[in-house]
Symmetry: C2
Subunit: 386 residues, 2 copies
Amino acid sequence: MIDKQILLLPGPTPVPPRVALAMARPAINHRGPEFAELLHTVTQGLKKVFKTNNEIVILTASGTGGMEAAVANLLSPGDKALVITIGAFGERFVKIARRFGVEAEVLAFPYGQAADPVAIAERLAQDKAGEIKAILVQHNETSTGVLNDIEAISRARGDHPALLVVDAISGLAAADLRVDEWGIDVAIAGSQKAFMLPPGLTMLSLSDRAWQAVERCRNNRYYLDLKAARDYGIKGQTPYTPAVSLLYGLKEALAMLEEETLEGSFRRHACLRDMVRAGVKALGLELLAKDQVASPSVTAVKVPAGLKPSAITVPLREKHGVVVAGGQGQVKDRVFRIGHLGYVNHMDILSGLVALEEVLVSLGVASLRGAGVAKALEVYQKWKEA
Amino acid sequence: MIDKQILLLPGPTPVPPRVALAMARPAINHRGPEFAELLHTVTQGLKKVFKTNNEIVILTASGTGGMEAAVANLLSPGDKALVITIGAFGERFVKIARRFGVEAEVLAFPYGQAADPVAIAERLAQDKAGEIKAILVQHNETSTGVLNDIEAISRARGDHPALLVVDAISGLAAADLRVDEWGIDVAIAGSQKAFMLPPGLTMLSLSDRAWQAVERCRNNRYYLDLKAARDYGIKGQTPYTPAVSLLYGLKEALAMLEEETLEGSFRRHACLRDMVRAGVKALGLELLAKDQVASPSVTAVKVPAGLKPSAITVPLREKHGVVVAGGQGQVKDRVFRIGHLGYVNHMDILSGLVALEEVLVSLGVASLRGAGVAKALEVYQKWKEA
């Protein structure tokens, strides 16, 4: 059959044709007035998505570069950070912090669960001396398909002076995140997620308190130096040559998000999540996360007993061109992940479920009844009527 | 007049239409077999351009990220590096080294001159104890338009154990660089230069000795960790999500370089350099660098007495859409720079010279005779016949 793929990944997202075309615009001088205008436009657009008046900086790097930038610009060697982990990306924050000499105290919750704000509040209440300089936490944990309640975590912080650093890479624009209202000091985003772009950009918002921490910070950084990014930003430039083609794409993607509206994007992602969950359950498979904490970006599905994730992911791709992700971290061999993030609509999900059913039937773990698509369509019809 | 630009910059280069189209290919899973094939293909292609059998890693970052990666992965805090500076990018190496706790000893040559291999040999001869762990140097210095003689610098190193780290970002594929033959331990490239791509990728080759230094290195790095990039590379992946669209572009650009041949690219860039130099001199302006050390990528032109660079660069852009660069570093207010790098041909140069002559005439510092294009055409004709 002719080679066409349906990408159901927790990033990179499929790229909308109009974004791909925007990225093919001719090159410009990144030290000239055209670039200054482009940078200004996308920065203003990002503020609406982050729901912030904070300054935003854009770095040419993938999301992990943004996570490192947050650590290396805010925390000095010997500083203590409370790292909330609910999966592999929380663990990545621990690794980055330790590489940069930061004392990472881990508050871990099991894979598949969200962080408990009460436990966070209790730990912070013990820290009378204010030794914890920052709380590092995921908005959406990509490895497990769990959405943390950042608003509740922010409330749990109470009067504790720790900075709240949120990795919102796979969550922002798919689920609500209110940087200013919730008092988020640093929020980190990535281009290849709900922003519908190829990978290569990470964007960070910093509160005034965060910028003060940047001024005091003694850690090593040059390429990911946030102060340099801010200072050049005032001139309409970046300190080092930026990924201009991706910035053109970002401008177009922000226009698309504005047309759909942010709330529309949240509703669409929630609908796609519910379609996947209903469809997969109807096919007899179990989900890693409970409904109450389920991610709007990605759903981790438990592999039937006796099978490896690749028993499902490889035939999905090879027979039907449906590309889903394997497991990651502690659940690497126990789940596969269906992404529903970015430039994805209900037909992508229905197609994916059809293919999944066919693969499960050929593995002998489901019978051919169209059960998955039927349930998913029911969810979609209700969403349409709501 | 309708909005069209002629980019005569030392990067970003104009992007060839076929490269722009390649970058609009649908997204793929960066953990899947399609990506592994893409990464393998571009890595093999890069080895030919670097003229090396060394392993090559590709990072999602601009060239400065590659410079930082070289420093932070090879040199530990307290280590000494000999940093050869002939302009602003040499000075950037000094800053990066110092930010990462490396003792940077500067061997500076005046702006507009190349590094003197004899002086380097003399300094290394004094270092009986072998305290200098690495020599950091530019292949092509973008701020001054000077090409260093890397082969001679490598010979000047002789038996000294220091690693030779070459920032070849704006030089590679425009001028010859023989990584293996010249014993270059680390060579750093960037996508937006002779590779004709948008910015966002940096590529590094590392010798076995360089990898051994990576193993010993105690400096902080995570996002730019070269060992992680190598280890994932063996699996056909990158440790963190890569800029996939740029890698598709790189594959196409490498195909174009293969069609032109590397030697053809060197000859073309040398021809464009000679056209610019002859044309600019014929217009009565002076050049910063002597012919013997002139860069094939960019030419720094002295601004006539009493004028600022913007007196020339702004009308060039606003009246004619010809985009050249201002000055940088110590010569920021004394030169403007005409790039002739990447996807540029003789007509771009002739057009640029026509516009430059018009601007100089309107400033009263030249008379309208077509002198620049005439001289440049002479150079071009000779090149065609050679």
